[in-house]
């Protein structure tokens, strides 16, 4: 086990624990905080998977953006209740289905002979940039359009209700 693998396992452990806590805790606030930890750990995994740009974007967008948004939503929607409790319902059904999904995925993963990871590109960042503005330009532009649309949508939803 080299350092990278150790770190991978460590981040993975944090991620799994964070995710479990996030779905299991009765406190919404803690769920969101756990999600933040989970997301950060995932960012670490990205870094270890030679995707440092994705890792930083993960921090940027998820932790700096989405988690904050969630906290906002929580604080704006649970006025007066300082410790909003989120009940867990029908755990058996969820467990069965989740188990089925996870087992299927794991079985698929382990029963597939995966090719070895190739050497990481020398100029990874450059490759990513060229891909974004080259072969994948249309998806890239499209995501920009979707972001714009969702911003407008979010604004109009929140404003429209107010009036």
């Amino acid at each position: 086990m080299d350092t990278q693998e150790v770190l991978f396992v460590a981040f993975g452990g944090v991620a799994v624990l964070g995710a479990l806590y996030a779905v299991a805790t009765r406190s919404l606030l803690r769920a969101i905080v756990a999600l933040g930890a989970f997301l950060t750990a995932i960012a670490g995994e990205f870094y270890l998977l030679a995707a440092d740009f994705i890792a930083v974007v993960q921090i940027f967008v998820y932790v700096g953006g989405i988690v904050v948004l969630m906290l906002f939503a929580l604080m704006l929607s649970a006025s007066g209740k300082r410790h909003p409790l989120a009940a867990v319902d029908r755990p058996a059904l969820g467990a069965v289905l989740a188990y089925a999904v996870g087992a299927g995925l794991l079985w698929a993963t382990w029963s597939t002979e995966l090719p070895a990871a190739g050497p990481d590109p020398a100029d990874a960042l450059g490759s990513l940039g060229r891909a974004l503005l080259g072969a994948q330009l249309w998806p890239f532009e499209l995501i920009g359009l979707i972001l714009l649309a969702s911003v407008i949508a979010a604004l109009s939803i929140v404003r429209g209700e107010r009036q």
Binding site: V16, A19, I42, L49, V88, T109, I143, I157, V158
Partner: protein, 101 residues
């Protein structure tokens, strides 16, 4: 080795996310669970990016796009949650069943 580990992690996280989606009653919790699911998928993309044409970076590009989608989803979703909260005074999805047949 690394790829299989990543995929395993992804599968576990995916299952956890699905569990959360199915059991949480609060809308924000649902969103949290969905984010877990999406991250599990993103791990897959990043991991596969290394074994499938690493130079093309397709997996990473799609991971980026996935993150972008997640941002959109969170923004709109949370806006909806706020709107719902204002209307129903709750973010518990079980109390909102206007569409009950």
């Amino acid at each position: 080795m690394m790829t299989t580990a990543a995929l395993t992690l992804s599968a576990v996280l995916f299952a956890i996310g699905v569990f959360g989606v199915l059991t949480r009653r609060n809308a924000i919790s649902l969103l949290v669970s969905v984010e877990i699911v999406m991250n599990a998928a993103t791990i897959n993309l990043v991991a596969f990016s290394r074994i499938h044409e690493p130079e093309a970076m397709t997996g990473q590009v799609f991971a980026l796009l996935g993150i972008g989608i997640a941002a959109c989803e969170a923004a709109v979703g949370l806006a909806l949650i706020l709107a719902v909260y204002r209307r129903f005074g709750s973010t518990d999805v079980d109390t909102i069943d206007l569409l009950r047949g």
